[in-house]
């Protein structure tokens, strides 16, 4: 069993590679972070920064040609890397649940919500169908779906986008998982619906005591939701720490650039600031700091591997951190 001191999730030097025609691409390169019980971590990054791959790697859902090549993922004291599919399967959906980006796509179109929820319950627990059904009704009510008894009998196409994401969240909550990995679950939704879902998630996590890993490219979402934030760039976590500290006074120039790109942080009428250049294609990363070609503070030293600048509860991967002690 676990010692009380051990964090719920401890990821150390995780690396995931994909074999492509052009050679091996390292999508996740030495990612380390920890997540305590009941905590909310925001994992932020641009498309292709490896944030989703990190989430999939934790659950062992990386399919060939991809594979986890190094590092460790300890969940409640148990190592997950190198476990068999069977062992991982007993964790998935039960102790670690996942919510996906597109609610239009994550529910099976030909099965009723009832069927999909009941089979999720029965996949991990030996209970009667009636008991499983009762659990499903309760879960739907929990995520704010009106008349859950009737909605349960319906098919995914009879739900709106926001409602479908609620159903997906209800399915994730069925086993009261200790960890929920949410991969951009509100990106495809309207802003108002997004707000509702965020508020609901926050309340649900507080209620159930689940830890939440929220993968997103939206800093505003992280600012309102998470306690800790980790910023990914080109497969690495370039900065992490408490949300308030990191967003108020970022250490890494990339985090600064991301914050400056948020339209609300700019002066009206002045052209929006943006990060110069493009995200490098995976497989063609520059040596040393991958952000080097786009970084205003870069100099000759940045061609070497950046050092880890660590402070209390936060860290950054940079030769020239801003405002660092």
């Amino acid at each position: 069993m676990s010692t009380p001191a051990a964090p719920l999730l401890e990821v150390r030097d995780l690396a995931t590679e994909f074999a492509t025609r052009e050679g091996t691409v390292r999508a996740v390169d030495g990612v380390s972070f920890t997540l305590e019980r009941g905590q909310i971590l925001g994992l932020v990054g641009e498309s292709g920064s490896g944030k989703s791959v990190t989430g999939f790697s934790i659950l062992g859902l990386i399919d060939p040609p991809g594979r986890v090549v190094a590092g460790s993922v300890r969940f409640d004291g148990q190592e997950l890397v190198g476990r068999t599919e069977r062992e991982l399967r007993s964790l998935r959906g039960r102790r670690i649940a996942m919510i996906f980006q597109d609610p239009m796509m994550t529910l099976n179109p030909v099965l009723s919500v009832e069927t999909q929820m009941i089979e999720t319950v029965l996949a991990h627990e030996r209970v009667t169908r009636a008991a499983a059904r009762a659990r499903a009704v309760a879960a739907l009510a929990q995520v704010g779906i009106a008349s859950p008894e009737e909605r349960l009998r319906q098919y995914p196409h009879q739900f709106s986008g926001g409602m479908r994401q609620r159903v997906a969240i209800a399915i994730a909550l069925l086993h009261r998982p200790e960890l929920i990995i949410a991969d951009e679950p509100t990106t495809a939704l309207d802003v108002t619906v997004q707000g509702q879902i965020l508020a609901q998630m926050q309340a649900l996590v507080r209620e159930t005591g689940s830890a939440l890993m929220w993968i997103t490219h939206d800093l505003a979402v992280v600012a309102g939701l998470a306690q800790r934030v980790a910023v990914m760039y080109a497969g690495r976590i370039v900065e992490q720490g408490p949300v308030g500290a990191v967003l108020d006074a970022p250490w890494h120039p990339y985090t600064r650039g991301l914050l400056d790109s948020v339209p609300a942080n700019n002066v009206r009428g002045v052209p929006l600031r943006q990060i110069a250049g493009m995200t490098p294609a995976p497989g063609q990363l520059p040596a040393g700091c991958a952000f080097r070609p786009r970084c205003p503070r870069a100099d000759a030293r940045c061609i070497e591997e950046p050092p880890l600048v660590a402070g209390p509860a936060r860290s950054a991967l940079c030769h020239h951190p801003l405002e660092a002690a």
């Binding site: 964790l91 998935r92 959906g93 996906f100 994550t106 179109p109 099965l111 009723s112 009998r153 009879q158």
Partner: protein
């Protein structure tokens, strides 16, 4: 989909409302509806043949050679009317066609069902296993589809001999590849959809994901291929029987009936060949029309 269907779906049991919606959508095409009615009628006639046929064409004792090659509407010595005439052995053509339909439909459906099961299992398995197994299976499929079906069936029957079971084996052999190819491509498309990933994320077993989640979503194209292939199977069986390789002459299928009348066609005794031909045509045509409409209705990208 009518706007209030969500509300009606909530009231009625799901299965019933789904069927009602499906039926309404199917019935939008008059031609398809007519084809369905015709098909149901044909199947009923075939099923009820022993009770409605005026004569048992398999019972050689009831046949009278003196009644051979009588034109439609003639009367038998015992007072029975041969509505569609008689063939070279004095068989009542109407009875022979009804029994022949039975054989043709049975052979077509049985071989279709077996080929569908075998082919789609192999195809889905290939898509999910990948690697060498997939390569091997798909190359076998390519080779199989490269040969004309009739040629493969002829060779097989020449080796196996005659009989209903033999012809079903031959038909399954030439047809499984169509299902395998369709099932594989459908499975490849579905496999990368997020709901499959989500199902894995929920910790469902692999078998459950394939059978319960993937297969139903891959089914619409298989059903369409299935209806077309059943029609093909019936036509192929008729061709083989016509060539004298299919079924024993004591239990004539439609193809054999056509073949039997072929030699009399030039002497004006058209009915021996033409009526079984019409029955065969009606059967194949109605199956194809129903299949086309099923494809349109079952396609989730249209309508819904």
């Amino acid at each position: 989909m009518p706007p209030n269907s969500a509300a009606t779906a909530a009231q009625a049991p799901a299965a019933e409302s789904r069927f009602a919606r499906f039926a309404a959508e199917y019935a939008r095409s008059r031609l398809a509806l007519a084809a369905l009615v015709a098909l149901v009628l044909i199947v009923l006639l075939a099923l009820l043949a022993p009770w409605i046929a005026p004569q048992n064409p398999y019972d050689l004792a009831t046949l009278d050679l003196l009644d051979a090659r009588l034109p439609p509407g003639s009367h038998a010595a015992n007072g029975m009317t041969y509505w569609l005439g008689t063939d070279g052995q004095g068989r009542d053509m109407l009875s022979a066609i009804l029994y022949g339909l039975r054989v043709s439909l049975y052979v077509g459906l049985a071989s279709g069902a077996i080929a569908l099961t075998v082919g789609s299992l192999i195809g889905v398995l290939a898509a999910f296993t990948g690697g060498r197994f997939e390569q091997f299976v798909m190359r076998v499929v390519d080779v199989q589809l490269g040969f004309p079906a009739i040629l493969v069936a002829l060779i097989l029957l020449a080796v196996l001999g005659k009989g209903v079971d033999k012809i079903i084996i031959a038909l399954v052999t030439v047809q499984w590849a169509y299902y395998a190819r369709t099932a594989r491509s459908a499975a490849l498309v579905e496999r990368n959809k997020e709901y499959i990933e989500a199902a894995r994320g929920l910790g469902l077993s692999r078998a459950r994901i394939v059978l319960r989640h993937l297969l139903p979503n891959a089914l619409p194209p298989l059903i369409v291929v299935g209806t077309v292939q059943v029609a093909h199977a019936i036509a192929l069986e008729a061709t083989l029987s016509f060539l004298g390789l299919g079924l024993p002459t004591t239990e004539p299928s439609l193809g054999l009936l056509i073949a039997n009348g072929y030699e009399y066609l030039m002497s004006g005794k058209y009915w021996i060949s033409v009526y079984p031909g019409v029955a065969l045509l009606a059967t194949i045509l109605s199956i194809n029309l129903v299949g086309d409409q099923l494809r349109d209705v079952l396609n989730p990208r249209l309508a819904r």
